[in-house]
Subunit: 686 residues, 2 copies
């Protein structure tokens, strides 16, 4: 039997997809710029499509093997009844995630050229195009995630107390693909970027995005495959995993709320999608205005409408308890946390505030002090977010307890997480806007457009940098709120499998402590390998660019460099080097769980998550701060471009690149992958 | 009643102090070198003594306030009977730690000049002198720690089941002083080093330790106050805290072993001190030989003799259980872990192995890639140590369980910790040897001694760098093994105070999880502030050196720079900037414990410890690897000195300085400070 509220979810998703279709049609009908622009854009598109094709072929093979393993594990551990369903859910989740990534990339490589063309006449129009390009991705990815969960739930029988435990396969499939998509894309984008900068800017002394540099197109391809496709897959699996985790918690409340408590998460997210549509449509670019103003206004509109929907949704679905208002409060805690995280991230990565200025100051005494200060700022950025997360968890737990229902506290944290997730589609829009603007800027630069066009794009590009940093803050904030509910979903799953309560993860138990230690270590080791992968792949790029630069025709600008060769080398390198870190984070928890059993694995999972959240904050924010310190100096302070301080700041930016665009975002996925992996493979650990 | 075995401990300590006295007399009778050397050495001595005097005055004030607070807490929480005793034990521990630091510094500033003088004729003799200087510190510090614990135990009544809970004040006093000593000294030494390098090497292009650089003397003072005094205080509190923690666990075994189980830790450590004396006396320098050979041989001798003593000690004191052999095995696990940690650290920081070579290779493409690779290596170094610690904990716990006595597993980990601590005096000797050799090298350089003397000292200096890295590995290894027993001591303490069992720290409990998150964050925040403190203090140094360099007489070498002024500025800066990070790590656990109570605080403590261990490994090893990559390039590879690769490697080394000599070692102390602080202030958290 299909519940009525599920139809609401499906209806809203269809509306969102319809809006996306309209926006896409409008966008595709726009002008594609000068022939020179088209030449650059075509090269980017071809490169991105080639990479995505090869990347997803590799991932598909890995996913099929994993699906077989999942089937075998369930079959051999006495779970024959759901073996096929879990493996199938995994494949569907993986496929949906892949489609999400491909769509994000497909839109981005078509929006960039139209944005560049619009910038010839109007910066307001350029903002509109790039923002709407982001919106198309945001709407499609979010509605696919909700549709995927809803339809899989229906297909698996829609048994409220049973299906949520089977549908976890979907979440694991999504995380699995997201890990490799983010990792491979992240390695690609930064290897090309670092390689292009080192040989181009540092060794040959030519500007960024110079047509003579054979690695520039690869660098622009990277924005699409890393930032668009990778982050699209990341946020797709976030919504999937967090919704499913909350549904599992809802099972415990079945006697009170019935199926409403279980479907509550996806219904609320679909209402959030509706709010996001209104927010998106409210954004209108204006010539000469700061693009951040329009986007921030849209964000606040989305958040406020979401708050009203939250009130209505809780009343309708969870009104069975007299204390339902406390659930509304818990949801508001989540929405407030999303706003607070954006503000904190802005403080640490915007040049109007102390941290970035400190880094810029310390560039005057060289690269050494620039790096020391940036790293110190990165470490510092853990403080306020950790306290915010702690307070939000305690507060939403308290709210849940005040409703007076059993396990209410836990469900309170789930409601807070869902509150935070409601604005997801809007955030994803802002997130994808960034790399599109960045790409359009590159096209304008490489097509040697007039200065005024470049200035228009520079402004948009700077806003894109800010939104990229902000949305990373949001991603890690929502992940940290979600993990607590995912742990508890894992514990509920184990309890269901063993048939006895599992409520204690005792850190004073030596095996749990060792599990926790290994968990924390895995996060550092993963970050090490992700960063190393960039460095290794960049070496191939550097060697190739150096060879091409030996050709005097290329440096003189009379001969076109071989962009395709660099793209090919980067693709091969990224795909090769993503396997080791990816495999490691899948194998480690399995080994710990099989040898030391489920309680030690819970310790592993929880402390890995804590460490992962904090390390992701460090890497994302230090990288963002270094980048903006460099940009700040380029505005003319501390001697401006070409000064010694600028040289030092460029080195800081290079160090920050793999931090903020490879290791940091991959850690977001890692956190949720560990949670969904332990959920799905739970039968192995008992 | 004083137990017979306590007399053994006291007797061995007196023998060790006697040996230290003989070594000191011999050393002081040696030649003090040329007048030029004496001039440099005097300046270092005066600067170091001035800093230590001011530093310990500041620490003394902070300690007196803390003692009053401890007294008040105990008095007001119904523990009047032991309020005065605990506060007094704190003061005694603090005073002993201060004396340990002062002694280490006093010996070092007198050994450096004699080592420099010996290097005029023989490198074997230079090794003998500097190693024996280190031995004097090692023997005095270790025996003071054991004597302090023993005599405080006797003074507090020697009641086996009660006194261990009062004597924790001693351990907290020692940790308290060690934190500020290591932090202040670490800030001092690296601010002077970074400041001297940036203005001297980078801006003015003059060599390291050039007499014209006004910051060189401050840099050499830093070796004494940071590496000697700071690390002396660190290892003093390690032995004290770990012995006392193990004694508390022994209380639970009182019905089986009587007082033997409680005094076991200090008896074994005193036997280890005896083994270390034999090891120390076996080291004999030989002209032309690699100094590491002699020191490694001494280490293995110490470890083997310790293993025999372990067998005898366990048989004599714990023979009451038929399974006593398993305790011997647990102790051997500890000794083996100490050897394994040295090997792993060597692999990651010595240029004969892949990691340092990778960093050197990546210096060819500039500072950016050098830093990325170094940081990646640092993150990687957590992997094997974490697994080693995990396996050792599980193995020693298993050994303890096999003895068949209740709580045997826990006591097994305590025996392993004690096994690792047995070689402490020898390790401390190697550790103090490093900065003495470094200082002697500086004196030789600044007194413009002939080239052959410099070459002799360079070899010793390189060995000193290796031993410094190795002993940091040992310190963090022993700390990680010890923390598990310190947690359990805390839990035993809480159980004693509340009168009910406290055996579960449930990470699935929301307040424990939040405590754990905040604990991990505190470690990153502390590291941030420690690194920032170096950067801030270095800024003062840089400004002063730049001002002095404007005087043409100084650059021409005709006018002596004002060394004292730089020393004074560095002293003030270091003392000012150590207060914030120090105060933070004391206040944070108190706030968490008071607001969220003892179980959440246990989560805080355990996860802070895990994060602290791993971050210390990252910071120590990346710093050591960067340093040695630079030294490796200086041997002529990748273009040698003055090449672009070398410039990049110098920047990496600058970044590594505050990592490995300020934040990293301070984290060792932090870990144990948190454990002893929670133990002592336990009455507040119930």
């Amino acid at each position: 039997m299909i519940d009525f509220v599920l139809l609401i979810v499906i209806a809203i998703c269809i509306i969102a997809l319809g809006l996306a279709a309209i926006l896409t049609r409008n966008l595709l009908s726009q002008d594609e710029g000068t022939p020179k622009m088209r030449e650059v854009a075509d090269a980017i598109r071809v490169g991105a499509e080639a990479f995505i094709k090869r990347q997803y072929s590799t991932i598909a093979m890995l996913a099929i093997v994993t699906a077989v393993v999942i089937f075998a594990i369930y079959y051999l551990t006495g779970q024959q009844a759901i073996a096929l369903a879990t493996a199938a859910a995994f494949i569907v989740g993986a496929a949906c995630s892949a489609v999400a990534g491909v769509v994000a990339m497909w839109i981005a490589v078509r929006t960039n050229i139209r944005t560049a063309s619009a910038a010839q006449t109007s910066d307001g129009k350029a903002l509109d195009f790039s923002f709407r390009g982001g919106a198309i991705s945001g709407l499609i990815i979010t509605s696919m995630s909700l549709l995927g969960v809803s339809l899989t739930y229906i297909a698996l029988g829609a048994d409220p107390t049973h299906t949520p435990f089977v549908i976890i396969g979907f979440a694991f499939g999504a995380s699995f693909v997201a890990l490799f998509a983010q990792l491979g894309g992240g390695i690609y984008t930064k290897a090309a970027d670092v390689g292009a900068d080192i040989v181009g800017k540092v060794e040959a002394g030519i500007p960024e995005d110079d047509v003579r540099n054979p690695a520039t197109i690869a660098d622009l391809v990277g924005d699409n495959v890393g930032d668009c496709a990778g982050r699209g897959a990341d946020l797709f699996e976030s919504t999937a995993a967090e919704n499913i985790g909350a549904m599992i918690l809802g099972v415990a409340l079945f006697p009170i709320f019935g199926v409403s408590g279980i479907l509550f998460p996806i219904v609320m997210c679909s209402l959030g999608l509706l709010a996001s549509m209104i927010g998106i449509l409210s954004v209108k670019g204006k010539d000469g205005a700061d693009p951040m103003d329009a986007m921030n206004r849209g964000y606040y509109i989305t958040a406020i409408i979401s708050a009203f929907f939250l009130f209505g949704g809780v009343y309708y679905l969870l009104g069975a308890t007299p204390g339902w208002m406390y659930f509304v409060l818990a949801g508001l805690v989540g929405i407030a946390l999303s706003v607070a995280f954006l503000r904190v991230t802005l403080y640490y990565t915007d040049h109007h505030y102390r941290p970035v200025q400190d880094i810029a100051n310390s560039s005057e005494t060289g690269a050494g002090t620039n790096i020391i200060m940036g790293f110190s700022v990165g470490l510092e950025t853990t403080a306020v977010p950790a306290i915010l997360i702690g307070v939000s968890l305690l507060l939403s737990y308290w709210c849940g307890t005040m409703t007076g229902i059993p396990q209410g506290g836990l469900y309170g944290t789930a409601v807070a997480t869902i509150g935070m997730l409601m604005v997801c589609a809007y955030v994803l829009t802002m997130d994808t806007f960034g790399p599109i603007a960045d790409n359009a800027g590159g096209i304008v630069e490489m097509s040697q457009a007039p200065d005024e066009v470049r200035h228009r794009m520079d402004k948009l590009d700077a806003a894109g940098n800010t939104t990229k940093a902000l949305t990373k803050g949001y991603a890690i904030g929502s992940a940290s709120l979600a993990v607590f509910l995912l742990f508890n979903a894992y514990m509920a799953d184990i309890a269901k499998l063993t048939g006895k309560a599992f409520e204690v993860v005792n850190l004073a138990n030596v095996s749990v402590f060792v599990g926790a230690l290994i968990g924390a270590m895995l996060v550092f080791l993963f970050a090490s390998l992700a960063i190393r992968a960039v460095s290794k792949t960049a070496q191939y790029v550097i060697e190739e660019v150096r060879i091409q630069f030996k050709d005097p025709g290329i440096m003189a600008g009379t001969k076109k460099p071989d962009y395709a060769r660099v793209i090919d080398i980067t693709t091969q390198g990224a795909l090769k080097n993503m396997v080791l870190p990816g495999a490691l984070v899948i194998l480690f928890p399995i080994v710990i769980g099989v040898t030391m059993k489920y309680e030690a694995l819970a310790g592993f999972l929880m402390v890995a998550t804590i460490t992962g959240i904090l390390l992701a904050l460090i890497l994302n924010n230090s990288g963002g701060a270094w980048d903006n310190a460099k940009k700040y100096i380029e505005t003319g302070v501390h001697g401006g471009k070409k000064s010694e301080a600028h040289k030092a700041a460029v080195i800081g930016d290079t160090v920050g690149d793999p931090f903020k665009d490879t290791a940091g975002p991959s850690l977001h996925v890692l956190i949720k992958l560990l949670a969904t992996l332990t959920l799905v493979l739970a039968p192995l650990f008992i």
